[in-house]
């Protein structure tokens, strides 16, 4: 693969990534709807499967955000997909996610004054807030960067 085709491929994949990120956030949030609509008392094998699917998706998203993703791409494409602006955008997305998670914790703290929230529910809420914030922030920054010439 020559450098020109790697650049073109990275450009196309970068644009696609920027478009997909908000949808991943929506998918993650939608999974929470399923979890909380069946919860509590969700103890059937299918419920455990749904929770495991959410956990796997969350772990994959976290790992992709942390490492830059695109693991199956050739090295030149992977490096272009994770160039200087992308690294800065990912770092900014993690900052946003940290802030959102902390605000989520404060919200949960006050929520438990009025209602019971078990540990699993709290984990779902905080992870979803953090990962969704990271995905939306990263997606927004990447889309903005791709705009115009």
């Amino acid at each position: 693969m020559n450098s020109r085709s790697a650049a073109e491929r990275a450009e196309a994949l970068g644009r696609r990534r920027a478009r997909v990120l908000p949808f991943l956030a929506i998918l993650l949030i939608a999974q929470q709807g399923t979890f909380f609509s069946n919860h509590p008392g969700a103890d059937r094998p299918v419920d455990h499967f749904k929770i495991a699917a959410w956990l796997v998706l969350s772990a994959v998203i976290l790992f992709a955000l942390w490492t830059g993703g695109s693991w199956l791409q050739p090295k030149p494409v992977r490096e272009l997909l994770n160039d200087e602006t992308t690294q800065v955008h990912r770092a900014q997305a993690f900052r946003t996610a940290f802030l959102a998670s902390m605000l989520g914790c404060i919200f949960l703290y006050f929520l438990t004054i009025w209602t019971h929230v078990d540990a699993r529910e709290a984990v779902h809420i905080i992870m979803t807030i953090g990962l969704s914030a990271a995905l939306l922030s990263f997606g927004y920054l990447e889309r903005r960067a791709h705009r115009g010439e």
Partner: protein
């Protein structure tokens, strides 16, 4: 504060007849990165600034300056 890093990348690129993609290729980044630096959205690292200046055949000081 209120300082920003201004640049003449677009002007110099035009003089050399380079597109953003061609400049990006010379520097080893994506077009997106050149676009954000050129528009002042992103402040490049010293490494990238030196590479951009080298690819455009000017000194870093001529390519970038601080405004405000």
């Amino acid at each position: 504060m209120g300082e920003r890093l201004a640049n003449r990348i677009k002007e110099r690129r035009g003089e050399l007849g380079l597109t953003q993609a061609e400049l990006a290729d010379r520097v080893g980044v994506t077009r997106k990165t050149v676009n954000t630096v050129e528009n002042g959205v992103f402040t490049p690292s010293a490494t990238l600034a030196i590479k951009l200046a080298g690819a455009l055949g000017v000194s870093v000081e001529r390519l970038f300056w601080i405004e405000g």
